[in-house]
């Protein structure tokens, strides 16, 4: 799986959902506009289009989408931030595309890939007669090339293809082979990929790598040297619905329609990504300078957007969750009872409500409510209960000392809480936890630091507890995070049972077979509490009602349906 470490306050923009498609709400305008009720989930439709500012109405054939500034790496192999990816997604296609429910369907591929019986060989077949925007045909070579250079020694982009264990990949990286053995071009439209290990996510990973013309991106390629790539960052050429017309750093990205796109030319010919920032994105929507923008969800913001009248407000769960991690390398947290006590003893509901109001839910497992793997079966809710917490602590041997602080073997119970800042959630956790834990007889000592510094503390194990958030991927595999040797398991959590379950889930490829395994895994994690799981919040995408046709979900961001969007 790949998820992303996110600062909890910055929304993870790569995921979104709209249970009710925006198009479905285009009902005839009622005589007297009525302000709709607030909903904590779903779509709150526009109710008074007459308020739509002239500036927006004047734009007949274009849409302006506000977002944080991209870094300008519009190279499918190197783009890394969500915002660069928003650009890349419009310009490039891959074999498969994601659906609203986190399943996949063919894009450039003619059909879903064939998987061999031993689940090690994947055969991808392209649609015939496809062209890149520069007129070059899309062939199996282009796909093979894309997979090959990701193995190159000098590749320093964000993808890590080694996780897919393609045969001969390591040899290519080390330079002992001049091609990757497991990537075989069968005919101009077919590629066969052989892997050495079974992987549940291999198909979606391979199908998700973007395809770019080898004639452009591979022209100067020599094995072991990808330096030339950085010169191509500002001149992307792909097969997606749009091409790049103009990029002004820090300002805007302007797109032009691509007539050769396999799905036909996009319905809205001109798309502009305009750079916006937290402070003024609301105002820009209001004045019509932008048509849509992701806005952090809160009662205030939702109300303000509804008040504007002409906004379709899409609210759906964020594909991610916030948690408070324990440092499992510290003796006091190795005791499950202590961890459970700290969960019972923290009024999570109050924190979540204070920060997000109705737009977030307290969670108890590390999974999104929308995932197929989600379960509530046999899950303890850890409702706020100081007595239970005290009891558990007593059982664990932590007794209240003379000064009211619990102690065990001469050690005082003190928690050093490292908080990223600025961060709205920490601002609420700190006062609540300080008060709650004081009741339990625990001294809670918070300190604040910038994000990367907290990351460093986490890496070095110099903390007791810290708050952070994870973004999730369509696939539920959490091996990196919770397995004993997980690359992101810096907190030292280890549970052999969980390790075993995670491994087992990956050996299966079909959802039905994986589901029960994850259920058991979540039960284990819920009981064992590697983290105090905190909440899953919502994302919000207000869209000017001029634009209709978006089809978003937490798994499928707006770029995938942009080509279908129409200006009313």
């Amino acid at each position: 799986a790949c998820s992303s470490k996110e600062a909890a306050s910055t929304p993870a923009p790569s995921s979104a959902t709209t249970p009710t498609p925006a198009a479905a709400t285009a009902t005839p305008a009622p005589a007297a506009p009525v302000r709709p009720e607030i909903k904590s989930d779903g779509l709150i439709p526009a109710w008074d289009n007459s308020k739509n500012p002239q500036q927006a109405k004047n734009r007949k054939d274009s849409a302006i989408i506000g977002m944080t500034a991209p870094d300008g790496i519009f190279n499918p192999f190197y783009s890394e931030t969500a915002y660069d990816n928003y650009v890349v997604n419009l310009i490039f296609d891959s074999m498969l595309t994601v659906n609203k429910d986190a399943t996949y369907s063919p894009a450039l591929a003619a059909e879903m890939p064939k998987i061999s019986d031993d689940k090690l060989v994947y055969t991808f077949k392209l649609k015939p007669d496809l062209k890149f925007s520069n007129g070059d045909p899309i062939t199996a070579d282009d796909f093979a090339f894309a997979l090959t250079i990701l193995h190159d020694k000098s590749y320093d982009g964000p993808s890590d293809i080694s996780l897919n264990h393609i045969k001969g990949g390591d040899a290519y990286r080390e330079g002992t082979a001049t091609s990757v053995e497991g990537i075989k071009v069968i005919d101009p439209l077919t590629v066969e990929i052989t892997t050495t290990e079974i992987g549940a996510t291999t198909m979606s990973d391979l199908g998700g790598y973007p395809i770019a013309p080898k004639s452009v991106y591979g022209k100067d390629y020599k094995q072991g040297n990808l330096d030339y790539m950085k010169d191509l960052n500002h001149t992307p050429i792909g097969s997606g619905p749009y091409t790049l017309a103009k990029y002004t750093p820090g300002q805007e990205v302007v797109f032009a329609p691509n007539a050769t796109h396999y799905g036909g030319a996009p319905k809205t010919p001109n798309i502009i990504y305009k750079v916006t920032t937290d402070e003024t994105q609301m105002q820009m929507l209001q004045t019509g300078e932008t048509d849509m923008n992701m806005i952090s969800v809160s009662m205030d913001n939702v109300n303000a957007l509804i008040d504007q009248g002409f906004m379709d407000v899409n609210i759906f769960p964020t594909n991610g969750y916030g948690y408070i991690a324990f440092n499992h390398k510290k003796a006091k947290f190795q005791d499950k009872k202590v961890r459970q006590a700290l969960a019972y003893g923290l009024d999570r509901k109050q924190i979540v409500e204070a920060v997000y109001g109705p737009f977030a839910d307290v969670i108890n497992i590390p999974q999104s409510k929308l995932s197929w793997a989600y379960t509530e079966d046999g899950i303890e809710k850890y409702e706020f209960n100081l007595d239970k917490a005290k009891q558990l602590l007593d059982e664990a041997g932590w007794v209240v000392g003379k000064d009211g602080i619990r102690e065990k073997n001469g050690e005082k119970f003190e928690i050093n809480f490292v908080a990223t800042s600025p961060n709205v959630v920490n601002d609420a956790i700190i006062p609540v936890a300080t008060a709650n834990y004081k009741e339990l007889g625990i001294k809670f000592v918070p300190e604040q630091m910038d994000f990367t510094a907290v990351g460093q503390k986490r890496k070095e194990g110099k903390f007791d507890m810290l708050f952070m958030a994870w973004g999730l991927t369509p696939d539920p595999d959490p091996t990196n995070i919770f397995s004993s040797k997980g690359s992101q398991n810096e907190i030292g959590y280890s549970n052999p049972k969980a390790d075993e379950l995670m491994k087992a889930a990956l050996k299966e490829v079909e959802i039905d077979k994986r589901k029960p395994v994850y259920k058991e895994l979540y039960q284990v994690l819920n009981d064992d509490l590697p983290y105090i799981f905190m909440y899953q919040r919502r994302d919000m995408w207000p869209v000017n009602s001029r634009l209709q046709g978006f089809d978003m979900s937490p798994y499928k961001n707006f770029t995938y349906s942009l080509a279908q969007v129409q200006v009313q």
Binding site: A1, C2, S3, S4, K5, E6, P53, Q55, S62, I64, A69, D71, G72, I73, N75, Y78, E80, S154, D156, P158, D160, S162, L163, K230, N233, T248, P249, G250, Q251, E252, V254, N270, I272, K274, V275, T276, T277, E279, T280, Q283, M284, Q286, T287, E289, T290, D450, F451, T452, A453, G455, Q456, K457, K459, W470, N480, I481, S487, Q488
Partner: protein, 320 residues
């Protein structure tokens, strides 16, 4: 004087070396590197090690320092990790935008500060002076974003006269005169905010030195010569009162290029301030170090120019 300038220029070398060592050390000491700052939890330990090797982050600091300085000397500041292009190119992209904004603001607020400072000194403790004082401190006491938001509310949202942010209208394709008009329209609010924030303290300095100067005997002489009050004030008094301000002018040089982080963020001005700030956030050391050295050089030059100008403006000073 030439000798002085040459000596000062020679002093730049050790100073810059000192600065480079310090900033480099800082960059080594700051927790985390670019790889750590990545928000990619999928990163395996092996992959992270591979990346560090590719970026040269695994080498000992001394070795990195030597390579870095060697490259710097040849004008090569390395590649920005975040932007994946040469640092010089990144700077070239953003610095000028900051410069246009700053230079215009600078011009305006120096003029305003001088005029207002002079008048509040002339009418010390008058209503005008009091009002100016309160305004100055209001500007100082309120964070910059606050004034920016207020202006946006007034002039861009409530009465949509001006754009909220950006440097050009989205998707605009004009060039020449129309383009410049568009940019100027976008500049008005940020410039106004910068002016409000910066004019204040300068006003106070000028007021103070004016207060000192106008009681000197030579001002009496100028009056005795029957000079117009305007000439007395702006020529005789201001000349002397501006001497300390020359020092302040020296400080402006780096800030002309350094950008204004908060202003640029709120007004979505594609300037260097935000890029610089981000480079710290994501530990993009080549960019951070390169930009710091550029700013350091500008700081040193600014101070040098201020010192030289000072010696020229005040004939009594003998620089040694």
């Amino acid at each position: 004087m030439w000798q002085y300038i040459v000596r000062r220029l020679l002093q730049l070398i050790p100073t810059l070396i000192g600065i480079s060592i310090i900033v480099f050390t800082l960059s080594v000491l700051v927790p985390g590197d670019y790889i750590d700052s990545k928000t990619n939890p999928n990163l395996t330990a092996e992959r992270a090690a591979q990346l560090r090797e590719l970026y040269g982050l695994d080498k000992p600091p001394i070795e990195r320092y030597v390579t870095w300085t060697k490259n710097m000397l040849t004008g090569n500041m390395g590649d920005s990790m975040q932007h994946r292009m040469p640092v010089t190119k990144v700077l070239n992209t953003y610095v000028w935008n900051s410069f246009y904004l700053s230079i215009i603001a600078l011009f305006i607020y120096w003029i305003i500060a001088i005029i207002v400072g002079v008048f509040s000194a002339m009418r010390q403790y008058s209503v005008f002076d009091r009002v100016v004082t309160i305004l100055v401190f209001a500007g100082m006491s309120l964070p910059s974003f606050f004034i920016a938001l207020l202006l946006i509310k007034l002039f861009a949202v409530d009465v949509p006269l001006l754009p909220i942010g950006g440097m050009t209208t989205a998707g605009m394709n004009a060039s020449g005169g129309e383009y410049y008009m568009d940019v100027i329209k976008h500049m008005i609010l940020p410039v106004a905010v910068i002016v409000m924030l910066s004019a204040g303290s300068l006003t106070r300095y000028i007021r103070t030195s004016m207060l000192e100067v106008i009681r000197q005997d030579y001002i009496r002489t100028a009056r005795a010569k029957g000079m117009k009050e305007r000439v007395v004030i702006f020529k005789h008094a201001l000349r002397n009162a501006m001497l300390p301000a020359i020092t302040l002018l020296g400080f402006e040089l780096p800030s002309l290029f350094g950008g204004f982080i908060i202003m640029e963020k709120i007004f979505i001005w594609p300037g260097a301030g935000k890029v610089y700030y981000d480079s710290i956030q994501v530990r993009d050391y080549p960019l951070l170090l390169g930009f710091t050295m550029v700013l350091a050089l500008l700081t040193l030059l600014g101070n040098l120019i201020a010192d030289v100008l000072y010696g020229v403006a005040d004939p009594r000073i003998r620089l040694k």
